[in-house]
Amino acid sequence: MRVDMAVRIEVIAVVNRFYFDHNATTPVSSEVLAEHIEALREVYGNASSIHHNGQRAKQALEEARRRVAAAIGAESREIVFLSGGTEAGNLAILGVVRASTKLRKHVITSVIEHPAVMNTCAQLEREGVEVTYLPVSPGGVVDPDSVRQTLREDTVLVTLMHANNETGTVQPVEAIGRITREAGIAFHSDGVQAFGKIPVGVNTLGVDLYTISGHKIYAPKGVGALYVRKGTKLVPLLFGGHHERDRRPGTENVPGAVALGCAAAVAVRDLEAESSRLDALRNRLERAILERVPHSGVNGGAVARVPNTTNIYFDGVQGEAMVIALDLAGFAVSTGSACSSGAVEPSHVLTALGLKKERARASLRFSLGRSNTAAQVDALAEAVVEAAGRLRSLSPAYAHHD
């Protein structure tokens, strides 16, 4: 029961902070920052203006569009810049469904989507559209056959994420893309957690729409892109000028687009080296924790995952307490999802994987990124072992384990 005070007091004043929450957001990398600042400083024209300043902005915008397109194997006119992943998901889903002239409309999605997709589908339901939420295997994977079996005459869209934000699980997008292509139904994939971590080619994947967010790939918040395959019928959500080929009005955020273009190019350039480095670090972290913390394990670990993410349960420990304890020790990690007050709600993704509520609450997500080193990973593992031990010593729920 005795709490080690000496350690705790020190940690309040901790100066070194180690960041292991890259799936929440990433810092802006120095390469991206340099181009972004340059654009903020120099490229202030309105990209729709006729004059030189406007033309320069237009040029920067189109160069950024080409870079994003190249990064995912698309044509540049298929890229729509917008405010981020949430807007891209909304535009893809609402834009395609509202563009359909069918009388009855049906959409297929899964139970593990990000709120940007999940709540957009919920809105469609309120508007009279029928939505099927496909279940996932205990590993967290959607079965492509279940997509095939759920397709109907009135299905207008399939929307399934590429990689899950909480477990890192990679979905069989390619197999599902073959099915939707064959059926001639639009397919959107939320690639916010996949792009920059695994190779993405829109033609290989067979997607018609693909969502990218800037701040998950070391670009600033407030910029993202939606890939829209040419020929895909899409109506806009917002109304205004003729920007972005009438798909997204509003004066273009050129410095944001420049940053996204740079970040996308860097992500692809460094993908191979960085993903194998992160894979090794992630495995090192998992090994260290699982070896030293009894009654812990990886959620959704036995399937294909992006290399930077692991989700680990610590039976008998409140994830919320663990995140705070680790934060006080200088480590940023996450659990569940934050509600409006900042309090934690249990993860709908983990319960969809079949985890009991208690285990979902006892789970933490560690998501690695560029700044992390082996030494940081070792320090994190050490802090996790310490925090789990202390919290369990205070937990009546854990008493039955030993």
Binding site: V3, M5, R8, I9, I12, A321
Partner: protein, 371 residues
Amino acid sequence: MPTMTDSLVAVAMSGGVDSSTVAALLRKQGRQVIGLTMQLWNQRRLPELSSEGAHGRCCSLDDVYDARHVAQQLGIPYYVLNFEQRFEEQVVRPFIQEYLQGRTPVPCTLCNNFVKFDDFIDFAAGLGAERIATGHYARIAWNEETGRHELRRGADASKDQTYFLFGLTQRQLSRTLFPLGDLTKEEVRKLAAELEVPVAKKPDSQEICFVPNGDYAAFIDAYFEEQGIPANAASGEIVDTSGKVIGGHSGVHHFTVGQRRRLGIAAGEPLYVIETQPASQRVVVGRNQDLLRGELMARDVNWISIPGLTEAVRAAVKIRNKHIAAPATLLPTGDAKRTRVLFDEPQRAITPGQAAVFYQDDLVVGGGWIA
């Protein structure tokens, strides 16, 4: 008892002036402080109950905003904890159950006993905080002679909150600080202004936090509806003291002993609720003098200044928060958890479900629930 002035303290911050001042005060004393806000109830859950009046109440987003603002100003780590599930289990459902049993519960005491001074203390300990601090107006002292932690009334008699704290155990008291116990509310506001606490002028909250408009019956009806329980399940008859039926009602939870309003019956003299009988769903009404009782039985008694009751003890007993403690004799029964309270003078509206708290001057001897 060793005092660990350098140890970490977790302050339960509601966003109000009291707990904010506690954090500022401890910080000024050079202690290591973290601020924690318990998210207890989702105000959006029963939207029909919230109104303009719901803003600024406990657990609203505004309060979390205020608490966070104070913590940032003080430069202390701050977190919001999701305690909604345990609050519902430990406070809201028992609160409703009590009303349905014809009793009038004290949810703040349930919250203190089973959330704030229980789960919260454990949570804080998990973060390395040996002590918690709250903005309650009460005092805790260690008595060398008896070897017990004592609870005493706060210096500000009008703000004293010991009535809601009678359930605290020795372990809970040993881990708790009430830094405002020696201060009056006026002094706290002055101190808050001196310490430049951002919420120094924020008004006090009055009602039970999860029932911002104070209408408990409407809350219970709304909760029933949310849970899919038929609302008229608890309807019954109103009878007079001779058993004659004089009207009907839509649930015993609409009535509390001693209440005059909302009877909906015309009669020669004012009628009061004398008793509610949950088994038959009957509400008994009568004259004001029918409300007088000379004794009560307290159940689930918790002793604070003494380890237990072995003989008759004199005490002043408070039977509801606004009641002036009345002289009485505490008598042991065969059951250590039950105590008989004999008042010197009959008391009006002794209400089942309320707490009976035993005092000797400022000292809280113990207390229990009125059976």
